[in-house]
């Protein structure tokens, strides 16, 4: 396999072969995590810069851990989003990065396209760790990795994504990733949380507002985090009603396939979008997703930093 991409900015545009290559490589790193010394020297001497302009615990930690497990040096900064304006500040950042001579940059930013903006201006490779409501490719990859452990193939399998579709980069990366791998996708949520242009942007994805109608047919159900700060903006009447219509409960699990795979990107609002008994139950791969996250990020760092690029 010859890898031809300098950066990982999204799952949009990646081929099935490329995604499979990343997932297969991640399997090997998953095994490394089980070793007495879970560390390999493959990226010794490389420096990875973690730039988190948005608060993040799990993704930032996961990326830092992945880089360290590969023996790379990790430097990073996080900045409260409120004080950062894009344009000039990001450009300044670019100059800073260039002068520091890092090999790779992991960036999270509230502006869609921020990762691309940086990638076009520096020599180092760039990994998008979430840019606004656009994409979060390593999340999509870890979802695929965790689901693949349960399902042999994605061909013809049905993925249902439930929640705030409008504001979710997790949903977008999942749609690109899972559809490339052959899955059929339905998004589900209150009509106010599904963007009006959605059908145009994703003609192959179905839209459904009634969660209960999808349960019997779903092979995978991805519950998105309800951003509680959005409550009171008139997008949905109340948390209580949202829970009633869209929470993954034990009652709803009874109507689903016995081997349905339940995913959640975290952090979970237990009892709002997912009941604790489901989150901790046998169908849930929530913890497997977290572990997959480190392996998948190791694979992406390794692939982007390791091989020769074809020009």
């Amino acid at each position: 396999m010859t890898w031809t991409h300098k950066n990982l900015l999204g799952l949009e545009g990646l081929s099935r072969e490329e995604i499979t290559f990343i997932l297969d490589t991640a399997e090997r790193f998953h095994e490394v995590l089980d070793r007495p010394i879970p560390l390999v020297p493959v990226l010794r001497g490389k420096t990875i810069l973690n730039m988190f302009y948005e608060p993040s615990t799990r993704t930032a930690t996961s990326f830092a851990m992945a880089a360290k497990r590969l023996s790379a040096d990790v430097v990073g900064f996080s900045k409260a989003s409120s004080s950062v304006k894009k344009g000039e500040t990001l450009l300044d950042t670019v100059r800073t990065i260039e002068s520091m001579r890092v090999d790779g940059v992991v960036i999270r930013h509230s502006c869609p396209g921020a990762a691309r903006f940086i990638a076009q201006r520096i020599d180092a490779f760039v990994i998008n760790a979430g840019d606004g409501a656009h994409e979060h490719p390593t999340q999509g990859l870890l979802d695929l990795f965790a689901a693949r452990k349960r399902l042999e193939s994605f061909e013809g399998r049905h993925l249902v994504v439930v929640g705030d579709i409008t504001n979710s980069r997790v949903a977008r990366s999942a749609i690109y990733g899972f559809s490339t791998m052959g899955a059929e996708i339905t998004v589900c949520g209150p009509a106010t949380l599904i963007p009006p242009h959605f059908k145009k942007a994703f003609p192959n994805v179905s839209i459904e507002t009634d969660f209960d109608r999808l349960l019997a047919d779903a092979d995978m159900i991805m519950m998105l985090r309800l951003q509680l700060e959005r409550q009171g903006k008139g997008l949905f009447p109340s948390i209580r009603e949202y829970r009633k219509l869209y929470c993954m409960t034990t009652e709803r699990m009874k109507k689903a396939k016995p081997d349905v795979v339940v995913m959640h990107p975290g952090p979970m609002n237990r009892g709002i979008e997912i009941e604790p008994a489901v989150a901790d139950g046998p169908n849930s791969v929530v913890l497997a997703q977290v572990r997959a996250g480190v392996a998948v990020r190791m694979a992406v760092l390794y692939i982007l930093a390791g091989g020769e690029l074809e020009h």
Partner: protein
């Protein structure tokens, strides 16, 4: 360039029998012994050696496999992304006599990487090295404890070991390197 056959399947089998015998003799038995093959051909050879030791000693010797891709010192020089293969050492290496197995010993860099990797799994009592072919031309101070055959080929030649398990044919072959293009 035509390739020339240096050994066939029967001869390879004799080498394996001899190496297995030497391993047992050198270690005064097969107790506490474990084999680790370097994927992919060393892995296949380690399994054959284990079968031979079982035949001679009646004891099952644990066999592991390692892929050294993540420990290579030339990743930047690789033209194509090497696919990382599975490493699986399903036993505790600490305190064991480990015999590392590979098909060809040449520069010694693969063995160097394998040693580093094994040491990340624990602290073996001893690590020994068994190879089917020793090509000399070392770039590192590394030597084989058990050798099938010494082949002092020049650096302009390629020595290939093919095994049924990995190549669907068997034998040791030598050929001239193709002249570099361009």
């Amino acid at each position: 360039m035509p390739e020339r056959q240096l050994a066939d399947a029967v001869e390879i089998n004799r080498m394996i029998t001899r190496i297995a015998t030497q391993i047992i003799e050198h270690n005064k038995g097969s107790e506490n012994l474990a084999l680790v093959g370097i994927v992919r051909r060393g892995d296949a050879l380690a399994k054959r050696l284990a079968a031979e030791i079982k035949r001679l000693e009646g004891r099952d010797v644990p066999v592991g496999a390692i892929d050294i891709t993540l420990y290579r010192d030339d990743l930047q020089l690789a033209a194509e992304m090497p696919i990382v293969q599975a490493t699986s050492i399903p036993f505790d290496v600490t305190g064991k006599i480990i015999v590392l197995v590979d098909d060809v010993l040449y520069t010694g860099r693969t063995v160097r990487a394998a040693l580093t990797e094994i040491l990340d799994f624990g602290r073996p009592k001893i690590i020994q090295l068994a190879v089917l072919v020793d090509r000399i031309h070392r770039e590192l101070p590394i030597g084989a404890d058990f050798t099938g055959r010494k082949i002092p080929a020049s650096t302009s030649e390629i020595v290939d070991v093919f095994l049924e398990e990995t190549d669907e044919r068997e034998g040791i072959f030598i050929k001239k390197k193709e002249p570099e293009e361009g």
